[in-house]
């Protein structure tokens, strides 16, 4: 359920919904757990997405304060697509009625690959499908009230790297500015922590440093980790400058720059209060930066 939304009515807790993981079948192959990345995808692929969901009807009714005999529920499963934090286009919305006697939905979706682009968003929402005859004041009463929801995102294979990277000739890009002598630079605007991570950050590699680019292309472990540390370091050091760093992390929407920074913080310094980290970044910047190597070591890829 969206943690940042304060619902004006009772909702169904996660514990009342058994949402099994998504499975994917590509081009008639084996059904496999859906990973973050759909390898080998292109517009000609056939994709099948399946999952099972079960709602504990009685418990959900109790959580909503509505008698089971007055409760009508429906699961909506949507496929959306397009790059960014939100889908650019919702393609389909499948409906599964949920009742006391049929509280399990076997979801099977076959989106048309030619309509897909960059990302697949799979949103599952439990809604009230009819106004209850009787309900206490805090219970939902309007049809289509959102009672529980969950979203999964999968990146599609193609030419899109997980981390946006471009090559450019810096002497053309920056002309006589000192930046033209740099082998790389990260284009980003600190401050807009709610912006989609992949739209907010872009790495430019200078084609005038061909050996450096060749090392990266060859998968040179040290060069890749060095670059990761530099990128993560820039972002986390800026985050530590923010007075409300903890609020930024807590309120960051999924997939945003703030959420990504928050996940790096948890990875490098689990259970450490943010003010301790801010102090470390201020008084021991070298050690703070050195800690970031731990994240780069544990990240398969940015």
């Amino acid at each position: 359920m969206t943690a940042s939304v304060a619902f004006p009515f009772l909702t169904v807790p996660d514990s009342n919904v058994i949402a099994e993981p998504w499975f994917i079948r590509v081009d008639g192959g084996e059904l496999a757990p859906a990973a973050e990345f759909v390898a080998g995808w292109d517009y000609a692929c056939k994709i099948e997405l399946t999952r099972n969901i079960e709602v504990s009807f009685e418990e959900a009714a109790e959580a909503l304060g509505i008698s089971p005999k007055n409760l009508e529920l429906e699961l909506l499963v949507e496929v959306g697509t397009g790059a960014g934090r939100y889908p650019r286009q919702m393609l389909t919305c499948a409906r599964y009625p949920i009742t006391a006697s049929a509280s399990r939905a076997e979801v099977k979706l076959i989106p048309d690959s030619s309509s897909l682009s960059s990302l697949i968003f799979l949103t599952t929402t439990l809604v009230l499908s009819a106004s209850p005859a009787e309900a206490p004041r805090l219970s939902p009463i309007q049809t289509n009230s959102k009672l529980w929801s969950e979203r999964s995102t999968m990146r599609l294979d193609g030419d899109e790297p997980r981390f946006p990277i471009e090559t450019a000739r810096f002497s053309s890009f920056f002309q006589d500015l000192p930046e033209s002598n740099s082998p790389w630079y990260m284009s980003w605007n600190p401050g807009d922590w709610n912006r989609d991570f992949h739209g907010a950050v872009r790495l430019y590699l200078n084609t005038e440093f061909p050996q450096f680019i060749e090392r990266l292309q060859a998968g040179d472990d040290f060069a890749l980790r060095y670059l990761s540390v530099e990128i993560i370091g820039q972002i986390l050091e800026k985050l530590m400058d923010e007075e409300d760093a903890q609020d930024i992390i807590d309120n960051a929407p999924a997939g945003s720059l703030g959420a990504q920074a928050g996940s790096w913080v948890s990875l490098a310094w689990p259970n450490t209060p943010i003010n301790t980290l801010q102090q470390k970044a201020e008084t021991q910047p070298g050690r703070f930066r050195a800690c970031i190597w731990a994240i780069a070591d544990r990240q398969e890829e940015l």
């Binding site: 004006p8 000609a44 959306g80 897909l116 682009s117 049809t143």
Partner: protein, 254 residues
């Protein structure tokens, strides 16, 4: 059906090409040389490269609409608005609504920067780089999106009426809000609600009303699945939001 793969252009390449562009230049590098710049690339698999004739056809069609609306002289407000509406229709008819290629920023960056840079400069200016780069403000991407979400359907007598009726501000309120624009049902309902309310309260009052209603739609959409409501229920809900906003603003029917 085989997907037609359109040329793509990365962000840095857009900037490099724009740096070389003259503000008074006519035509495009593509049209003159009949070939695409080296920086252009395609999806490696999954379809067939779109034929050059289709790219030149796209350029010709949009250029014709621009000429009808004053090109190369700077367009006035009415001409710009007419160009936008006609180009929206043409882009949807030429590209289709359900092709993953047209959800990509780099495809639209290429269309604006390589195929139709002179039209972007005419409609906006060479300095307005966000109109060349891919994204919701791209000169043609925004028009295509408008056409897709506000198409009333092939059988409708006034199929493209919403594109012609809504003001620029109203169109922006719908298409620059991903939580609304991603849903055709919600976008159409909001646009139809705008048309009804504009008849009742007058177009001049609509900017403030539309902003209030758009905010309400976004708030309600967080707690209620608006897009899956029946057409009648959604229409009634949106109309009520306009009524409430008008009442709070002290507006009486014109």
């Amino acid at each position: 059906m085989i997907v037609k793969l359109f040329p793509r252009l990365r962000r840095a390449a857009v900037d490099q090409l724009l740096d070389k562009l003259e503000p008074t230049a006519r035509g495009s590098a593509f049209a003159l040389a009949y070939s695409l710049p080296d920086a252009v690339y395609y999806a490696p698999t999954g379809g067939a490269k779109v034929p050059h004739s289709q790219l030149t056809g796209l350029r010709t069609a949009i250029l014709e609409i621009a000429k009808k609306n004053g090109y190369p002289r700077s367009p006035d407000r009415a001409q710009a608005s007419e160009f936008d509406a006609e180009a929206s229709i043409q882009l949807v008819e030429l590209t289709g609504a359900n092709n993953g290629e047209f959800l990509r920023d780099d495809v639209w960056a290429c269309i604006a920067t390589v195929l139709l840079p002179d039209i972007v400069t005419w409609r906006f200016s060479l300095g307005a780089r966000e109109r060349y780069h891919g994204g919701i403000r791209n000169a043609f991407q925004r028009l295509w999106l408008r056409g897709v979400v506000l198409d009333r359907g092939e059988g409708h007598q006034e199929r493209w009426g919403l594109l012609q009726s809504l003001t620029e501000d109203a169109l922006v309120q719908i298409t620059e809000r991903p939580s609304i624009a991603s849903s055709k049902e919600l976008s159409l309902a909001l646009a139809e609600g705008w048309v009804q309310a504009s008849c009742k309260y007058g177009v001049r009052k609509m900017e403030e009303l539309m902003r209030k209603v758009t905010l309400q739609v976004r708030l309600h959409n967080e707690i209620r699945h608006l897009a899956s409501m029946s057409t009648e229920d959604l229409e009634g809900f949106i109309n009520q939001l306009f009524e409430d906003a008008a009442y709070r603003s002290g507006l009486a029917p014109a």
